[in-house]
């Protein structure tokens, strides 16, 4: 026995220090190059001519209208997609029906279709050359190159986020708690609000935040249907592209910086909520 050298016991899941440092270093390098460097570059470019120039470029009516439009579109598209996402996830996970696999594929469609194609589909459907579009324009309700088209395009592109987050969680949780609530006399709505919703709230929040980030940042589909009417149908991403093409780089990067900050704000919000409810999260988590 004495020929067996003494070795300090090491947990089986622990790597050697070299491997650990290599892995952590690679991740940090990647994050720096892919995430932080561009973010800093955007902010640096925005502030190249100082704060006043940046603030002035934001104060222009066109820029203000772009920020407003982006926020309004997100404020409409995100709640609607949250409701649709919950409905879709509910239908898929709590009921058995024949077209289930088809419905799941359909939910993923916006992820697999290029946003530009999605935008073109809307133009084909509601554009001036289509019967429906012609009728709508004649009745003063234009969809394409107007506000409703932008909302529709945004909703199409961001549809999967909430449903995608919810479906795995709801499958994992099964139907037993809902069934228990029903046997205790609760109605379907009461079951949903008192049992289902509390169980999925974190996944829902995460889906909504992702949906929101994409809704504010969506470029391709919105670019096709917006018509780029300055001060009317330009969202922030489109405004950024227009400014950039006009060599107004301070204005372009300032707006880009604001857009990035809005995304960071949503993430901050999520972290804050998680931190405030940490004890409740721990208490309700499954073994």
């Amino acid at each position: 026995m004495s020929d067996i050298a003494y070795r300090r016991p090491v947990p089986v899941t622990t790597e050697t220090p070299l491997a650990r440092h290599l892995l952590i270093g690679t991740v940090l390098a990647l994050i720096s190059v892919l995430l932080f460097a561009p973010l800093i570059a955007v902010l640096a470019e925005a502030l190249r001519q100082g704060w006043t120039a940046a603030v002035q470029s934001l104060a222009s009516p066109d820029a203000r209208s772009a920020v407003r439009l982006t926020l309004i579109v997100a404020a409409i598209a995100v709640p609607l997609n949250a409701v649709f996402g919950i409905a879709a996830a509910w239908a898929i996970t709590k009921f058995d029906f024949r077209a289930k696999a088809f419905l799941i594929t359909l939910i993923d469609l916006p992820f697999s279709v290029s946003p530009v194609v999605a935008g073109l589909c809307l133009v084909l459907l509601f554009g001036a050359n289509s019967t429906l579009g012609g009728w709508l324009i004649a009745h003063d309700m234009p969809i394409v190159f107007a506000f409703p088209g932008i909302v529709l395009a945004t909703m199409f592109v961001t549809f999967p986020f909430v449903a995608r987050e919810l479906i795995p969680v709801m499958i994992e949780q099964g139907r037993a708690e809902e069934e228990a609530a029903l046997t205790l006399g609760a109605s379907g709505w009461r079951t949903f609000f008192t049992v289902t919703l509390p169980n999925i709230r974190w996944a829902l929040l995460y889906g909504v935040l992702l949906c929101n980030a994409r809704a504010m940042g969506e470029f391709g589909a919105v670019a096709v249907v917006s018509g780029k009417i300055r001060g009317e149908t330009t969202t922030m991403p489109i405004m950024i592209e227009m400014l950039y093409n006009e060599y107004l780089s301070v204005a372009a990067f300032t707006l880009a910086g604001v857009l990035a900050m809005l995304a960071l704000l949503t993430l901050l919000l999520k972290s804050l909520l998680e931190w405030r409810h940490a004890d409740l999260l721990a208490a309700t988590r499954r073994h």
């Binding site: 037993a176 708690e177 069934e179 228990a180 609530a181 029903l182 046997t183 205790l184 006399g185 609760a186 109605s187 009461r190 008192t194 049992v195 509390p198 169980n199 409740l280 208490a283 309700t284 988590r285 499954r286 073994h287």
Partner: protein, 239 residues
């Protein structure tokens, strides 16, 4: 309340979970549905609770046709295999859930809800756990809380799906005794599903042996042991 099951059948697509079965459960009985997995015992229990609907046949509760009653209208206290306690609610709120879910006119006052919940927690001999969350309880405690929650709605019958399945042998023995006592005290017609023949024989007044969606034999435990009706019953109860 007595339960009559008349020619009840259930198909899932092309699969037959239940061939037409008939069974009569006397009021106040403690009945075990005994059989291996896939024998249709859980399907039968879920049909009684209104969680599944039969393809054909009738269910009568106290002589009244209950086949078309919704799960809420059945007022059957149901204890699920994994208990299905509401994870995000305290034990108190879990037990109070059925009382709070009542329409406003029939809903007890907050003080009355508190009294009833505490009485039920006394009944399951866990008077001090109202403020805890389900994941802070042991398996046996969760099972008893699930039982209290089912009893809170003043059910017309008690239905239990493998109530002792997820517990170790010692706790199982204790809880069997507990269920027997609660049954005797409330006098509720009680049906439980099990694949454990020893459990069925020890606890039930009446054992229903099932296999492949059919009822093989119905009888008192001693009679089934002494006179198995089919080879299947002999093999299964000998195990």
């Amino acid at each position: 309340m007595n339960i009559e099951i008349e020619e009840l059948a259930k198909e899932f697509g092309t699969a037959r979970a239940l061939h037409p079965v008939s069974l009569s459960i006397p009021s106040g009985a403690l009945v075990a549905l005994l059989g291996p997995s896939g024998s249709g015992k859980t399907t039968l229990l879920r049909i009684l609770g209104g969680l599944e609907f039969p393809t054909s046949g009738r269910v009568l509760f106290g002589g009244q046709d209950a086949t078309g009653l919704s799960v809420q209208e059945r007022r059957a206290g149901f204890v699920f295999q994994s208990y299905a306690l509401f994870k995000h609610m305290t034990v108190f709120e879990n037990v109070a859930y059925g009382l709070r879910a009542r329409p406003r006119k029939e809903r007890p006052t907050e003080a009355e809800i508190g009294r009833r919940v505490n009485r039920l927690l006394d009944l399951i001999q866990l008077p001090d756990i109202g403020a805890r969350y389900p994941n802070q309880l042991s398996g046996g405690q969760r099972q008893r809380v699930a039982l209290a929650r089912a009893l809170a709605i003043e059910p017309r019958m008690l239905l239990l799906d493998e109530p002792f399945g997820a517990l170790d042998a010692k706790v199982r023995k204790e809880l069997r005794q507990g269920l027997r006592e609660i049954h005797d005290r409330t006098g509720l017609t009680t049906v439980f599903v099990t694949h454990d023949q020893e459990e069925a024989m020890e606890l039930a007044d009446l054992v229903v042996v099932m296999s492949m969606g059919r009822i093989e034999q119905v009888g008192k435990p001693a009679d089934i042991r002494a006179r198995p009706a089919t080879d299947f019953v002999r093999d299964f109860t000998a195990a």
